[in-house]
Assembly symmetry: C2
Homo-oligomer: 458 residues x 2
């Protein structure tokens, strides 16, 4: 029966239509949404399947505590409203809200489906921090409000206000409305403060809506590396926010909420006196990119404040010790990590062979002489760093030359079936690729969490 | 009940745990895997939800016919084995095999879950063109072979051969084995021909395995822009392939299959005389990136051979006519299009307002003066091209200045709720973000197809 692929007698079956379609649908439920592990499994166990998304429990708890610490000086004046687009996981959002205590009043979601998933998961105070224009999506948002959730949405256009009013009125409910102001991102948002006032007036006049305030979010500023330049950008944002509040108040439109501030800058927004809410979504997972921002001392902030809690567990599938590129290839690529923010960082090598070896690897604090050099659809490539002093010394000690390099590479490269943990370049689109994440403490999986707000955005 | 987000009385519910988790799981089945439209809907209908993945039926059929045409001169000597990693959709794979007639003998898949999805969908001749090392994954692959599928897998390491042999033997079945040779990609693959011969010998000696041939795939060469340089790279690949066949034959190991050749180069591999199979997976969908390759005349190949059949349907959610950046913002970003290969291309503006307007837009062959300038997590930005001669002329005719620009922008930019079709930069990871695709002919959805091989790769 089992003739192999590539032989001419293995013809394509003639009837590929209905039977196949039905089998496929049944199959899809069972296999496509495969769970990488069960609670109690170990990341180093072969039964734990890769590539898997991992939330490092200790790092998440550290990050939540750190957020609370940063926000304490502003208590009573500024709340945190973490953006769940970073992880899309209702179970993690609940954990975040619980661990952050009174600091977090609710969450932001960026898509209607995310708001629905969070509400279904028990998170009931939601700012949909985006423009929603389609009638079906607005009807779903209004249904969420009608079910008892606190729901607000952004507007930057009179049509959106009318559309939202119609949806809320039809559902006999109220949608909160915040006017988005373009504070330098040049994406969504009204261009001027008078336009913001005009839209706030319209929202106040329309049935089914309650004007709540303004959003002044500058996503791009979060990635300005230089500390003073990043701070200066947010000083400008805060100035616009203050002008909005003043002109709205003058027009008899009290502005209860000024929201904004992503993970790369939220400490500035919180300290500005202009904001009532900040939205540091990535603070719980910490994108690799944010570690490249510079602190007031001109040094990389790295993981000094927040840690890389979002990780990808992968397996070595191929290995070459020979020059010119002694390397290993992992079973993870763009299907499980987004690539537009560059390569992932290597966090740790686990041995798949034994618990003892894994423990030793876990205890090691020295980064091995390896560098991530490639990321393609299904593969990540990690090379031996031939310039690393440890490699140079070991090669010299083995007599130099290609054979010595191969011997050193054989010693220093992980083996086929070994595992590694990576920090992906960008958390948000990475989480969007996964149906499940493993909540793991050290090597042990404590819980399997669903990324149930994963979706193209329907 | 419906207090709005951002108010202090809207507290986080205290018990966020069990009830929420259960509701979330039930919810996820119903909503997360939302279908963007039903058969018979129109892409321009508001009931068709965005962002949605679209297979343009006419373009797919054109591309399948074109593949057949390209392969005809090599009939009997070289087969096509399209790589389904490009689209991950069993229904499209079936369509492809049917439309390509005898040209296609089977498919390639890159992950075990893809092979399983394709087999469940009725495609039964599968080359798993990757290294598989974990025992559970190899057991699944062997189960597929035991169920009657023709299954082959790649090896580049003695351990992999032993692992595959153990899995096939346990399942009382046979796995085909091909040795992957590194032909310049510097990723997987043995480095030298003698190593390939040694692995082929080992595979021949091990129970449960059948040595089938070699894979000589050079993915990177597909993106060499210059025609002669691209061809020269594949000449080098073919030379290595010929050396493999000669040395294997000399060692008494007949090499039935030489496979490789992706969409950017497969015409060279097919014509080389060294290959028995080519793997042009993207030929059915045609990545935007391949259009930038240069033909023998030094000009972009564009869509002269294959067309951009994979498209993303999106809605305008925000619009600004004022300087400095008259623009619209779409409801699609990195959650529905991969970003590591750059920005998507604008294919066509649809009006959401009426069928008549949509028909007019469809009939227009002139590209509007718009350019895609930004792609972020949830947004794509399209600006009015202020340097386009049509814009320059219209602004001058309106008297010039900012007000004239705003008037021209108001005329030329799509409206909020209008729709556009985009060609994403890279098909493979884009399809991986979607649960469904709309098979659409012109504006009409003929069928909803499941992307059931979408997965991080578990």
């Amino acid at each position: 029966m089992a003739s192999a692929a590539g032989t001419s007698e293995a013809a394509v079956p003639k009837d590929l239509s209905r039977a196949g379609e039905q089998a496929e649908t049944a199959f899809m439920r069972a296999v496509l949404r495969r769970v990488p592990a069960v609670s109690g499994a170990r990341l180093s166990d072969e039964g734990t399947e890769t590539p898997a998304l991992v939330f490092d429990a200790d790092a998440v708890e550290h990050n939540c505590a750190r957020l609370r610490e940063v926000m304490t000086p502003f208590e009573g004046a500024v709340s945190a409203r973490p953006h769940v687009k970073s992880h899309k996981c209702p179970a993690l959002a609940r954990r975040q809200l619980e661990l952050s205590g009174g600091t977090c009043k609710g969450i932001c979601a960026q898509k209607v489906c995310e708001a629905e998933a969070m509400a279904a998961g028990g998170v009931r105070d939601i700012l949909l921090s985006n423009q929603v224009v389609s009638a079906p999506k607005l009807a779903r948002l209004a249904a969420l409000a009608a079910s008892g959730c606190a729901v607000s949405v952004l507007v930057d256009d009179a049509d959106q206000v009318r559309f939202a009013s119609a949806a809320a009125s039809s559902a006999h409910t109220t949608l909160g409305v915040l006017v988005e102001v373009d504070v330098g991102q040049r994406r969504c948002g009204v261009a001027t403060v008078p336009e913001a006032v005009a839209l706030a007036k319209l929202a106040t006049a329309m049935p089914g809506l309650e004007f709540r305030g303004v959003q002044c979010y500058h996503g791009a500023a979060q990635h300005i590396r230089d500390y003073e330049a990043r701070k200066a950008a947010i000083d400008g944002v805060a100035g616009i926010a203050r002008a909005c509040v003043a002109q709205l108040t003058a027009a008899g439109l009290p502005c209860a909420t000024v929201t904004g501030g992503g993970s790369g800058t939220f400490e500035f927004e919180a300290a500005s006196g202009a904001f009532t809410e900040v939205q540091p979504g990535s603070s719980v997972v910490w994108d690799r990119d944010y570690s490249d921002n510079l602190g007031p001392d001109g040094k990389r902030v790295g993981e000094t404040g927040f840690r890389h809690a979002l990780q990808v567990l992968a397996t070595v599938i191929s290995r070459t010790t020979a020059l010119p590129n002694p390397r290993v290839v992992l079973d993870c690529g763009l299907k499980c990590m987004s690539g537009e923010s560059g390569l992932p960082a290597l966090l740790r090598v686990l041995s798949g062979k034994s618990e003892a070896a894994s423990g030793a690897a876990a205890a090691s604090t020295t980064q091995p002489p390896l560098k991530v050099v490639g990321l393609s659809d299904e593969h990540t490539q990690i090379e031996l760093d031939l310039d690393d002093p440890r490699v140079v010394a070991a090669v010299a000690a083995s007599g130099g030359g290609a054979d010595a390099v191969a011997a050193v590479a054989d010693e220093m490269l992980p083996k086929v079936r070994d595992r590694v943990l990576l920090a992906p370049g960008h958390c948000d689109p990475t989480c969007n690729l996964h149906d499940f994440a493993l909540w793991a403490r050290g090597d042990v999986v404590e819980e399997v969490m669903e990324i149930s707000a994963r979706s193209p955005g329907l």
